[in-house]
């Protein structure tokens, strides 16, 4: 994945808003912070649950247009939950 690290010493995605596709079916959009022993730490996280009625595509389209509506200030996602991590701007 290309892109420059603007906080030297951190992982490439540090500070970048990412979309995490969860194996549970949930989707998480938040600012990637770092890998921890308990999983991946995100800040200011919006969570999409397909049981809520809104489609994932609608959720991502709304997030792209109006920004990340953070449900949780911090969230650690266990490795087992993480399917794929991509930058939010890749969905534009």
């Amino acid at each position: 994945m290309s892109g420059h690290v603007f906080h030297p010493g951190h992982e490439e995605l540090h500070g970048i808003t990412v979309v995490v596709s969860g194996r549970s079916g949930r989707t998480y959009v938040g600012r990637y912070h770092e890998q921890t022993p308990k999983g991946t730490l995100l800040h200011d996280v919006a969570v999409h649950d397909p049981a809520g009625g809104q489609s994932r595509e609608e959720f991502l389209a709304r997030t792209l247009k109006f920004g990340v509506r953070a449900d949780q200030k911090h969230l650690v996602l266990a490795d087992e939950e993480i399917g794929e991590i991509r930058r939010l701007v890749e969905f534009e």
Binding site: G3, F6, H7, G15, I16, K65, G67, R87
Partner: protein, 143 residues
């Protein structure tokens, strides 16, 4: 908690140097955004790296290209908290992020750049996004 003023002073000056008017209080914000005619860009400044490395250089570059807004104003997130909160009421449909930019035309938001569209990007990419919006919304109407 705000950063020491000495630390953010150069970040404020960078904005003023490119022609932006700083809004540091609620009355300042209302005076500029309350009854708008024409085009206004609101730049939400920040101490973070994507403001220094992406957003501010991008705005400077975009302002040096073609058409530009009638006014450029700025509020500083984390520093002038009441002014920022007030400014965000004028673009309340958009989630708070900083840095970010809202372009208004006759009081309506016509273009918005979120932090996620700035982080990790080269300034020229963000400048193109802005300059395209300036050409679309700030160019004088052809006769």
């Amino acid at each position: 908690m705000p950063y020491p003023e000495m630390m953010v002073k150069p970040m404020r000056e960078e904005m003023v140097d490119m022609g932006a008017k700083e809004l540091k209080s609620v009355p300042d914000v209302d005076a500029e955004l309350g009854d708008q005619q024409g085009t206004t860009l609101v730049f939400v400044n920040s101490v973070c790296g994507c403001a220094a490395g992406g957003a501010r250089p991008a705005l400077r570059a975009a302002l040096q290209q073609g058409p530009k807004p009638d006014k450029v104003v700025t509020v500083f997130a984390g520093q002038d908290t009441e002014a920022v909160a007030r400014a965000r009421q004028y673009f309340a449909d958009y989630q708070p992020s900083s840095p970010s930019m809202a372009l208004f035309k006759d009081g309506e938001v016509v273009h918005f750049i979120h932090r996620h569209q700035i982080e990790g990007k080269a300034p020229q990419d963000v400048a193109k996004n802005l300059a395209d919006a300036f050409r679309k919304f700030c160019a004088p109407a052809s006769v």
